[in-house]
Every structure is written in C-alpha cells, then in structure tokens.
Amino acid sequence: MRYGFWGLAAVALLVTAGFASADEVGRVKVVKGAVTIERAGSSLPATVGMKLQEGDVIATGRDGSAGVTFNDDSLLSIGPDSALAIDRFAFDTTTHAGRFDTSLRRGTLSAVSGKIAKQSPDAMKVRTPSTILGVRGTEFVVRAVPVAP
C-alpha cells in the first residue's frame, strides 16, 4: 500500500463522511404489484426509495416484482412469487473489498454484479435452496421453483 495505514484511514473517513448511515446496504428502486420487506419479524409494504438493511427479505406476490440497487452498484431484481434474503453486505467504498451474500428462497432473480464481485471474485454469493453460486461477474438469471410432489 502506497500511503500506509493513516493515509487509508484518512481516505476512509473522507469517503464515509456525508454518506448514508452504515446500516443502509441498498435502496428499492422498482416496485410493481405486491411487494413487502420482511424485517425483524414484521412485514412492511415496499416503496420506491426505501432503504434496505442486512437481514431484510424482499418478497413479492403473484403479480409482484421489485428491483434494488446496492451500495456497490449491484442490481438485483425479482419476479412474481419470489423471496430474496439479504444475508450479508459489507462494502469498503475505498478499497471496494467486501462480502455480499443473498439467498433466493423461491422464484426468479435477475442480477448484475457490482464492485464487490469485480474487486474480488467469489466475494459475492447467491444461494438457492439447492445450490451456491460464486459470482465472478456479471449478469445472470436464476429460477428456483419448488415442485409439488
């Protein structure tokens, strides 16, 4: 590292100053039909501009779809009858290092990975009920539909 610890610390301070609170990991940008955010045991109706946190689950009804832009510029959107959990999101705006774990519990997902995956391959993971996806970039879609026995 060229500037040493204090240089990095100073940059980190400069960069975090004025930014959104550390809790916010992304924002809801698109809401169509029935979309809810499950947070700490309660279910909130999703609105455009809503700030999301680690642990939130975005869920859509039969006519619903939703899109979220994350702080590392990742774009995740889900179709009808879907649920996506934000398990973990950590992003250093200076180094772009981080970890991004989500789970598609059911339904369809469209993803465009952002700076976390670009900086370190495999730092972004998407889980489905049966698989783990290691994201080396950049765009993909996933469907995980439970089949009635």
């Binding site: 930014f19 455009v48 832009t69 469209s110 080396r136 950049t138 879609v141 026995p149």
Partner: protein
C-alpha cells in the same frame, strides 16, 4: 428440509413398490441458472455448486440445472428470446444501471473547464431518469500542493458540483459529497506535477 425430503423419498419408494411399475422419482425441485452477456457483449462467469459437484458457466446463455438431489446438470444453451420470455418480470424490474460522469476543473480552482460546463445538463437528465436517485460526488486534485490543501480543494470542487445540481432542482439530500484530495489520481504522476486530467470530480448516478 432433510427429514422432509427423506420422508418424501420413502413415500415415493412405497408408492413405486405398490404400483409394481417402476417409474423415476418425481422432481423434488426445479432450479435453473443462466449466465447472460452484458450490454457490451462481454460475458463473466459463475461457479455453481450443488451437493459436492461444481460447474463453471462462462459462455453466454450457458445454463446449469438441478431437478433431482445430487444431480447438477448442464441445461444446454438458451436463446436470448427464451431468457426474455422466462424471466420477463424479473428482468423488467431491473433498476437503471449506475452511470458515471467526470467533470474537469481549471488549475487550483473550483471553476469548471469550458467543456465540462456543457456536461452538466447531461447529468441532470440522467438523474431525471432514475427512480429515487442517489448521486455520489467525489472530488480529486492533481499533486501540486500539500495533501491537506488538496483535501480541501477536492471537497470544494465536489461541493461546487452539488451546488450546481441543487440549483437545477435536484434535492440536496439526494447528493453525497466527498473529497479524496490527490490520493487517487486518474493519471499517476510524481508529486508536485500539474496534470489537468487529475483535476476532476467523479459523479455516479444510481
């Protein structure tokens, strides 16, 4: 999940035995993963892991599929049309892609260059196309002057951009500003070297 699956498997086995006719167990799940090319035509890669097996997708429209526990399969290639049909609502809800702009400044000043002044309306119209827009403005300097002086100058440049956007009607709270001084030059130079390309503000609209 596991005990339920075992139970279902047992039921299926009993069912098969009673019916005499042996048929394959019904699919317990249906999962499909498709790698897509980006708008510039380049394609990244995905590793798909299931039950100790792994596949790497690295070609446009390559797929992986799981329909039975323990079977991670190549799902073949889909066409662009098939992907659009099967994933239309999810793809249709994708937020607009973040867009980056760079504005340049006169030497030791928070005045825009003449060319950069003309860029500002483009930034405004990009912002107008984003739902719940977030605008991240980061100022930079070249390496002439002290670190401390350049930290302040870079922040002044960023604030100048914010003031311009606020004047055009963008709510101030949508804009965050930061200054990185001379720490992150676009063009690497020795210290105290004047470099117009490093006197800049980078604006990300997302």
């Amino acid at each position: 999940m596991r005990p339920a699956l075992v139970g279902l498997a047992l039921l299926a086995a009993v069912g098969c035995a009673k019916a005499v006719q042996v048929s394959p167990a019904p699919p317990m799940r249906d999962e499909l993963i498709v790698l897509l090319p980006g708008p510039d035509g380049s394609t990244g890669a995905l590793t798909v892991t299931h039950d100790g097996q792994q596949r790497t997708l690295d070609a446009p429209y390559a797929t992986a599929r799981v329909q039975q526990q323990g079977a991670l399969e190549d799902g073949g290639r889909l066409t662009a049309d098939e992907v659009r049909q099967r994933f239309a609502p999810a793809l249709g809800a994708q937020p607009p892609r973040p867009v980056k702009f760079v504005l340049y400044f006169l030497d030791n000043s928070d005045e825009f260059t003449a060319a950069s002044k003309l860029e500002i309306p483009k930034i405004f119209s990009e912002i107008s196309g984003h739902p719940a827009p977030e605008i991240v403005v980061v100022g930079h300097t070249d390496r002439v002057g002290s670190l401390t002086y350049n930290d302040a100058l870079s922040l002044r440049r960023a604030e100048r951009v914010r003031a311009g956007l606020v004047q055009m009607g963008i709510p101030r709270e949508q804009i965050s500003v930061a200054g990185r001084g001379e720490r992150e030059p676009l063009v690497a130079t020795e210290d105290e070297v004047a470099e117009p390309r490093n006197r800049r503000v980078e604006i990300t609209v997302r």
